[in-house]
């Protein structure tokens, strides 16, 4: 049996590992930017899709189906991003006789519409943020809602997501202008001017529940993840469990997540996202109908292989262990390592990775999609991989994370490693005291202050310069005292 991953980078690598654990052969696809990438060179089969731009490669459904046909793949896994939540792709796979590793196209579609899924959740008894539900036809309609729910409110593009096409309105006098602007932005960004309004929850946490749905075994919740550490609405660090959730709240969140998944007949791994207010009230945000970037923290704490489970479900096999008997243990934290330059507003930092040394040892897991020498292309999301630390409790996991971050060497491109090193040294973060806007506030407050070089770093630079410029010792004809000396000299000679 063969499985094609319609994706690239670390998630393709992750899914291929699950395939190898299940005895399934792997098929990689690649654009011209990725011929040398680890996801290709680790695969049993590989097929070129097209040029680097996503539209001509990883988003090209005909090219993907052709690759599956040519290599005899039976399963297609979409990963996350690209076509992962595209019901049309799921349908095209089924029509081509391929098994799409994910939920039904109907479940993807039902959860794909913000307003549609909201209506469905209200019906299923899952709490949602007070809002207009339907796209607003006028600013007046929104004013009426705001008078009932109270300011501040949020205007959101119906077709948006991930923080794009969103605007806060603090009082009625700003509403007309804001409505006009968000409609225009929504039209420009998503080709759909529909806008709706929601009550703004103050200082909420972003908490999500992992669900696993199986055609015969039903839907189960596998605990929550804490995803409040976000930069401009983009998650950068996730934890399992949340330091702010007690058993009672966890139970209520999991029940709501199971109800949400059941409402769409969900039969795969998926994630139900909630906003949790400081008073422990919570509201359905959306459901991600795919394997989530941050799935490893759940895997480490619950001792489960979600990527493998997803494939088994797609094959209609029973799940390996009785998931309902699983119990969490310890604490896990994931850092998303991006090729971004924190000193230039986290701008992408494409280029060649000159060196890469991964941390190893107890409690450390690396899910990485690049290697030393890899070129980070400008064409895709610049995530290099994820570092996951696991320990007996949150304090132990944080210490192991800090240790791993001080063993992590990447040169050649800028990365978000300095952000995580700063977080590990931040008292409020270490106390677990944050909400979804916390990181943006800390960043504008100077979390990443420019540090002066340390004396040790200056000496390393000076020593390397001196060694490089020193007259090269003549290659000795024998007489080197030991292999070690000889080796050192040879290495020095290379420069």
């Amino acid at each position: 049996m063969r499985l094609l991953v319609a994706n690239r980078g670390e998630i393709a690598v992750r899914i291929f590992r699950a395939c190898r654990d299940l005895g399934i052969e792997t098929v990689a696809v690649f654009s011209d930017a990725d011929r040398q990438s680890p996801h290709v060179t680790m695969a049993d089969h590989a097929v070129r899709l097209g040029p680097a731009p996503s539209r001509e490669s990883y988003l090209s459904i005909p090219a993907l189906l052709d690759a599956a046909r040519r290599t005899g793949a039976r399963l297609v896994h979409p990963g996350y991003g690209f076509l992962a939540e595209n019901a049309g792709f799921a349908r095209a796979c089924a029509e081509a006789g391929l098994v799409f590793v994910g939920p039904s196209p109907e479940a993807i579609e039902a959860m794909g519409s913000k307003t549609g899924s909201r209506r469905m959740m209200e019906k299923a008894g899952v709490p949602v943020v007070p809002g207009t539900v339907e796209p607003a036809r006028s600013a007046a309609e929104l004013k009426e809602f705001a008078r009932r729910a109270g300011y501040p409110i949020l205007l959101k593009a119906s077709a948006g997501g991930g923080g794009k096409g969103m605007r806060q309105v603090d009082s009625e006098k700003d509403l007309d202008a804001a409505f006009t602007r968000v409609c225009a932005e929504a039209q420009a960004a998503f080709g759909d001017p529909s806008v709706y309004a929601e009550k703004r929850i103050e200082r909420p946490r972003h908490i999500e529940v992992q669900v696993v749905g199986h055609p015969r075994e039903g839907v189960l919740a596998v605990g929550e993840r804490e995803c409040s550490i976000q930069r401009r609405h983009q998650k950068v660090l996730e934890e399992c469990p949340s330091p702010a959730i007690d058993d009672a709240l966890r139970g209520r969140l999991c029940d709501a997540a199971v109800a949400a998944a059941r409402a769409v007949g969900y039969t795969s791994c998926g994630t139900v996202e909630f906003l949790v207010a400081p008073d422990h009230s919570f509201y359905f945000l959306e459901m991600n109908t795919r394997l989530q970037v941050e799935h490893p923290v759940t895997e480490e704490v619950w001792g489960v292989d979600l990527a493998a489970a997803m494939i088994r479900i797609a094959l209609n096999e029973p799940l390996p262990a009785d998931l309902s008997r699983l119990r969490p243990r310890g604490h896990a934290i994931e850092c998303r390592i991006y090729a971004e330059d924190a000193s230039r507003g986290f701008a992408p930092s494409p280029g060649r990775i000159a060196s890469l040394r991964l941390p190893e040892g107890p409690g450390i897991r690396n899910d990485v999609g690049v290697e030393a020498g890899s070129v980070v292309p400008i064409d895709y999301d610049p995530m290099l991989g994820k570092l996951i630390a696991h320990g007996a409790d949150r304090a132990a996991a944080l210490k192991r994370l800090a240790r791993a971050l001080s063993d992590y060497e990447i040169s050649g491109v800028d990365t978000t490693l300095p952000l995580f090193r700063a977080l590990c040294a931040d008292e409020e973060f270490v106390r677990g005291n944050f909400d979804v806007q916390w990181l943006d506030r800390r960043l504008s407050g100077g979390l990443l202050g420019a540090e002066a070089p340390r004396a040790s770093e200056i000496w390393l630079a000076a020593t390397a310069m001196a060694q490089a410029e020193a007259p090269l010792a003549p290659a000795s004809a024998g007489g080197s005292a030991s292999l070690w000396r000889g080796a050192a000299r040879r290495e020095a000679l290379r420069d």
Partner: protein, 180 residues
Amino acid sequence: MRRFTFIHRGHGGPEELSIEVDDSLQRCVLSRGGRSEPASIARLPDGRVSLLLEDGRQICGRVRVLCGGDLEVVTGSSRRKIALADPLRDRIAHAAQSESGSPAEEEIRALMPGRVIEIAVKRGQRVGAGELVLVLEAMKMQNEIRASRGGTVAEIRVEAGRAVEGGAIMVVLRADEEPS
């Protein structure tokens, strides 16, 4: 023993420091602000440098030359750009800057001795800011040298595959006219 002097331009302005290295490249004396400290040097197989100071402190990291001429020092726990140059190159770099905020020509120099791996431009070619000009292998690393501003390639003074001296001019770019 051979002595090297460097200028470090940190937040507090330029500062001189020196390092004496013996012929084996394994022992050295570091001097800064009137204080000296002996140390041993080991070059690791993957190109990193380990310094062992007299009091037992051990420091390990990788040093690369960036296209601007600064050094990138990467340790397990940090990655920092350090403005460190020998006095001659420091003078060249800072003299050019002080003469003109935006000189008409950009001389792309080899900040370290190395070997040109690839020349990505031709004489007369228009290059944009950030575009690859050439690849210089130095200190075990392939350094992509990019244009810091847009311009036209006026001269190419090196050949692919050939060694270059530290400080040598490799390519001259004529800057674009300012549009406004």
